[in-house]
């Protein structure tokens, strides 16, 4: 299994679930007609890559970063500002990538060198502070970022929904620019996840795990832990920024709510923990569960809330209101940290175990 870097799912059920998810995502344009299904599928792809890159930090090095959405946002804004300013052409896309990715990597390098050097606990707090400052900055520099409104932009000709590549009568399906964009998102996300799988199964990834288990000992063995942690931080930032680029390309929009807000950071945390930390595959499972819940559970909760209020129950309508779905996911999050610290993937692999227990000291 060269493509999986010698790290297959190692569980029949897990393999089946993963294959099902990937096939369903790949076939979404043909299986589930409608804009909503395609949006959900694209979002799952983007978030699977984003969460996998976060897993590299949280699951493999044991350092909690709250700045991951910042890198995601840098990618989104870079492509959005470039396409907004230079018009819908491929040069603008290239400019966005060439500016956005190095910017994210440099910022990650600066944060890493500054805060990974001191106590590991500082890292979580400093990333939180830097990310919130960046968020304020992005909403204040409205001449550049469009402020709270964000930036909407046009895509290059080829990727527009109006561009028909293969007309309807060939397979009964129309392949247009929108579907091409979807496959662009799908392919790049898949490649990034495979690349991350390669990283964590390389000698470098083994060192990261050694640092997670016992930083002092890893240092005593002669590894420069600050270098390894900072490098991992930069890699994760690069993937996050790339995911941000894909997200902006898909939405044709970048704004504080879709790419920078603290709630996205919490979503990422929930996804990685529910899916399973330190597995990479957990990112795919976590993103799928979470985004499906976000999009379809809410309507279910609306029905339940209505039923509860018609039955005259106190409090319950408020608790079951569709906007409160995060409450239930928060409870699920706490329960999964407590009862299934290895997440869905860990459970499926060996019924628990203590692989990620006792991380970070």
């Amino acid at each position: 299994m060269m493509i999986l870097s010698g790290d297959p799912p190692k569980s029949r059920v897990l393999t089946l679930v993963l294959v099902l998810i990937i096939l369903a995502l790949a076939a979404t344009p043909f299986l589930f007609p409608g804009a909503k299904a395609l949006n959900v599928a694209a979002k799952i792809c983007v978030f699977a890559a984003l969460v996998a890159s976060y897993d590299l930090l949280l699951g493999y090095t044991g350092s909690v970063s709250f700045a991951h959405t910042m890198f995601y946002g840098i990618g989104s804004y870079a492509i959005a500002i470039a396409l907004y300013g230079m018009g819908p052409n491929w040069a603008a896309v290239a400019t966005g990538i060439v500016v956005g990715l190095p910017l994210a990597a440099l910022l990650a390098l600066a944060i890493g060198l500054f805060s990974l050097r001191v106590a590991a606990i500082f890292f979580a707090m400093i990333t939180l502070a830097v990310a919130s400052a960046f968020q304020v900055l992005a909403s204040q520099l409205s001449w550049l970022t469009g402020g709270e409104d964000g930036r909407s932009f046009q895509l290059p000709e080829l990727l527009r929904p109006g561009t028909v590549l293969i007309s309807r009568n060939l397979f009964g399906f129309e392949i247009n620019g929108r579907i091409l964009t979807f496959y662009l998102v799908f392919t790049i996300s898949a490649l990034m996840i495979l690349a991350l799988l390669r990283v964590v199964n390389s000698p470098f990834g083994r060192v990261l795990q050694a640092i997670r288990e016992n930083r002092f000992r890893a240092e005593a063995l002669g590894f420069r832990t600050v270098f390894h942690l900072t490098y991992a931080n930069c890699l994760a930032a690069l993937v996050a920024a790339s995911a941000g680029i894909l997200n902006a390309l898909w939405l044709r929009y970048a704004g504080p709510d879709t790419s920078l807000s603290f709630s996205i950071m919490l979503d990422i945390l929930l996804m990685v923990v529910i899916g399973g930390m330190g597995t990479i595959y957990g990112a795919i499972i976590g993103a799928t569960i979470f985004i499906l819940a976000q999009n379809y559970l809410q309507s279910l909760m609306g029905v339940a809330s209505k039923a509860a209020s018609e039955a005259g129950l106190p409090l319950l309508p408020g608790l079951l209101h569709p906007d409160r779905w995060l409450l239930w996911l928060g409870l699920l999050f706490i329960a999964s940290v407590y009862f299934f610290p290895t997440g869905v993937v860990g459970r499926l692999r060996n019924g628990g175990g203590d692989k990620s227990a006792g991380a970070s000291h």
Partner: protein, 336 residues
């Protein structure tokens, strides 16, 4: 080494006064930059009031970390809970709150604040038992658990009170300013300063003059040693955690009155500010936390007056500057 006679008192530890001079120097430096003395005085008073409120909220967090190495990312939830609970008392008595007499409005505000502290403290008990005890000693899981707790607390507040911003008007008797010459100092800021100072002095007295405080300080410095001497540090920690939560609730009420509105998102914004204060001050140090809070408030106020654009990132710049000077914060008290 100097010879010590048996009757001589023990040598006192050297006092480190550089951090104390820092806010004073900063304030003095600002006089020529701001130009007008009256606006300087107003800004300084505003910084001190804001600093005191931040200190009240942050003091619990720094002690909790120092004592038990527990990083509570859900600390902000206690702030929001405190503010929301206060509305329970203040809304029915809105008329008396708006009475002209200072004493009548204080008579309503005081029980509201006390109730907030009680509820936040009780919530602290639950959080400590349910969220922190099971993952004790594991940083990663502590951060995840308390972040989860923050989400649940915020969402519950939304479910109970609704997602809208709740107005929390300041009592009429606390509106307006004291006018001294051409200097105007808002009345509420004076009250906030007094309460903050009282809390600071009370914490310092408990920490430095009682046996309980001795144990807490010893625990911050070396937990195992205190345990080895037979004290139940877990119970001590629970007490500190509940007190810290209650103080966060008090800070929440004061902050809500200062902003004259209540919203669950206040916990997110303030969490960041509090973390910066705790990092600047040195994890576990009350004195550092006090100075850090004043510094953050000063930078926010002076910065907002002089270079409004800079105010957005001023906290981060301050934190970077302080950590360059002292990498473990102003006062490094823990051995970790």
């Amino acid at each position: 080494m100097t010879e010590l006679a048996a009757t001589d008192p023990l040598p006192k530890p050297k006092r480190d006064i550089a951090p104390i001079l820092l806010p004073i120097a900063l304030a003095l430096l600002m006089i020529p930059l701001i130009g007008s003395t009256s606006s300087w005085l107003t800004l300084t008073a505003a910084s001190l009031a804001m600093g005191m409120m931040i200190f009240i909220m942050a003091s619990g967090l720094t002690l909790v970390f120092g004592l038990m190495d527990v990083l509570n990312f859900g600390h902000g939830a206690f702030i929001a809970v405190g503010a929301y609970v206060a509305t329970l008392v203040l809304a029915p008595f809105a008329a008396s709150v708006q009475a002209d007499s200072l004493w009548v409005s204080l008579a309503v505000l005081a029980p509201a604040a006390l109730l907030s502290m009680a509820v936040s403290g009780a919530l602290g008990l639950i959080v400590e038992r349910v969220l922190i005890l099971p993952v004790y000693g594991q940083h990663l899981k502590q951060i995840l658990m308390t972040t989860g707790g923050l989400i649940v607390a915020e969402q519950t507040l939304y479910a109970l009170w609704g997602p809208q911003i709740i107005p929390m008007p300041l009592p009429a008797s606390l509106r307006g300013s004291f006018i001294l010459g051409d200097v105007a100092i808002a009345k509420y800021r004076v009250l906030a300063m007094l309460i903050g100072l009282a809390v600071f002095i009370a914490i310092q007295l408990v920490l430095n003059r009682t046996k309980l405080g001795l144990l807490i300080r010893a625990g911050v410095e070396n937990r195992e040693m205190v345990e080895a001497l037979g004290y139940r540090i877990r119970r001590l920690f629970l007490g500190v955690f509940m007190t810290g939560s209650a103080l966060a609730g008090l800070g929440g009420v004061m902050w809500a009155l200062y902003r004259e509105q209540v919203h669950a998102s206040m916990s997110d914004d303030l969490t960041v500010l509090i973390f910066i204060v705790v990092i600047i001050g040195g994890l576990g140090s009350i004195g550092g936390c006090f100075i850090g809070a004043i510094l953050v408030a000063m930078v926010a106020n002076y910065g907002g007056f002089l270079v409004p654009k800079l105010a957005l990132v001023s906290n981060i710049l301050l934190m970077v500057a302080i950590l360059m000077w002292r990498p473990r914060g102003l006062y490094a008290v823990t051995s970790r």
